[in-house]
Amino acid sequence: MQGDHFELENAPADAGTLRRVAIDPVSRVEGHGKVTLLLDENGQVQQVRLHIVEFRGFEKFIQGRPYWEVPVMVQRLCGICPVSHHLAAAKALDHVLGADRLTPTAEKVRRLMHYGQILQSHALHFFHLSSPDLLFGFASEAGRRNIVGVAAAYPEIARHGVLLRKFGQEVIRLTAGKRVHGTGAIPGGVNRSLNREERDSLLAEIYAIVGWSRQAVHLVKRLHAADPALYDSFGTFRSNILSLVGADGSLDFYDGHLRARDADGRILVDGFPIQNYQQLIREEVKPWSYMKFPFLAALGPQHGWYKVGPLARVQNCDRIPTPLAEAERREFIDHGQGNLVHAPLAYHWARMIEMLHAAETIKALLHDDDLSGSTLVTSGVRKRQGVGVIEAPRGTLIHHYQVDDDDLVSSCNLIVSTTHNNQPMNEAIRRVAQRYLSGRELTEGLLNHIEVAIRAFDPCLSCATHALGKMPLQLELQDAVGQVVDRRCTAS
């Protein structure tokens, strides 16, 4: 399957014959992202190490806090998908309260919040982050390859991106109570429902939102069709996939059980209860990385690693329970001609299918009167621990808490989507570097291509901190004795 990767990963890193190329995207003030390419004597990429610091200090941040504070506090982990952490924590603590089945109003308000989050995050990812690369080409002028450039050349696309994002934010505001730092989900349910006026205000826009989401899928399909060789091969590698699926096997971002498939699409695990995730997933530690490397326990670290996120979800489910997105899923599956699609650039296509599904789901929910119900909270027999799993925009997100009898959190464990995708990101970068690095010169082209591969997964680089004056992306080439022979710097 993916055996060649581990042969290289285990290559002797201390060998004096390896040159080291360091790409240093220090894009967050305390987060440190870095790509190291280890080359052999012939200048060929032998090993890739992607270093990302994220969620450092999380356990200390949470331990000793009353459990009811946790769904609000965890939003400060991530400035891009705080709602995902908010809901995953609330779901975990539902179990602690014994609230194994929420009221219809609570579940639907939470679902609306989550699908609003998926919509706004996917819109941000595609229009702000990835569309500049895709619309202008990876090798185009860097100064143009950004959202401002897209707005200049494709103003309608950029405008749709902004308005989709804005709509998703408004869904979050109405369900969570605030635009940021919302409090809507609480252990056992929610603290508010939507009134008729709020639903009508969203309904007034949702039809345009569905239309623009559909156009976005068509745009990605056109891009694939224009250069299938590139889109199908760029950074492509085979792996297992993992995601939640609903009880009936449908795509479900909010709840369900875990399912894994192998690289050929055969189901490895299905119906796995989320409360038992530790029996399914183990995490390997490597000395060179802060981030762990999750793998399916039954397959071991060498063969058990897997992709998560849109590309995994769209192919792991049996169907998408909304008509427009399901039609697009079928077309996507047909593109694979009977095989799983593994191309990293296909993440964007799958992501837009999911955005369309989120828009359709929001539309259906807004017509559901349960959204305006008044029974918001439930509870049951108190437990000492709970696991909450959710499909966040970038992939499966696991929150696990233990709560003592004094109601204080005694321990917690998180596996976030960027951690699940750790090994796949390394692999995608290695493939791209092997293809585009040559000689001793570090080119902007190489840097661009590595960035494009990373963006397909959109790792979280300790994103909850924002500060001006960030360091730019740096690219450095060292010879066999560690001397810098080339250096390149670009904005990040």
Partner: protein, 164 residues
């Protein structure tokens, strides 16, 4: 309803050490404006970081002020005017004020209003940490500037207070 003529957009995470400078100064400014009876003329918004949809918050404003922490900023702060920059660098998770100003006319056919950046030097940004002593001093100095700015929220006055 017309938006307030002055928009203050502060970025930062209150739970990450000196990244809290933006929201902290926003709260202090809000309280001060309420005491002085000037709150109606300004809208104050806080968020983790700037994103493209914030361009729509700029519509119809006479003046905009961005407040943020900065790691390499000369202490205690830098106050500068921001100009729209096409092709400003972008990153995965945030947009600089200059790019936001450039996005607005592209998507809404509106000219971006005059905008200023108050960037306050931060030192430590770890999750769960409070404000550092140094950043607290910088915040006090920055708040003195904010009071001066909002006594006379006019572009000429603000320009006269730009850093060096």
């Amino acid at each position: 309803m017309s938006p307030a003529p002055v928009l203050v957009l502060a970025c930062g995470n209150p739970s990450r050490g000196d990244d809290a400078l933006g929201p902290l100064l926003l709260d202090r400014l809000q309280a001060w404006l309420e005491v002085t009876g000037e709150a109606a003329g300004s809208e104050l918004l806080g968020d983790f970081q700037l994103q493209i949809e914030h361009a729509l918050d700029l519509v119809g404003r006479r003046l905009v002020l961005f407040i943020d922490a900065g790691r390499q900023t000369p202490a205690p702060f830098v106050f500068r005017q921001a100009q729209a920059v096409d092709g400003a660098p972008y990153s995965t998770h945030a947009l600089p004020p200059e790019a936001l100003l450039a996005v607005l006319p592209r998507i809404d056919h509106q000219t971006a209003p005059p905008a200023f950046v108050l960037c306050v030097r931060g030192e430590r940004f770890e999750l769960g940490e409070g404000l550092s002593a140094a950043a607290s001093c910088h915040a006090d100095r920055a708040f003195e500037l904010l009071q001066e700015l909002f006594r006379t929220p006019e572009i000429d006055c603000w320009r006269s207070l730009l850093s060096g």
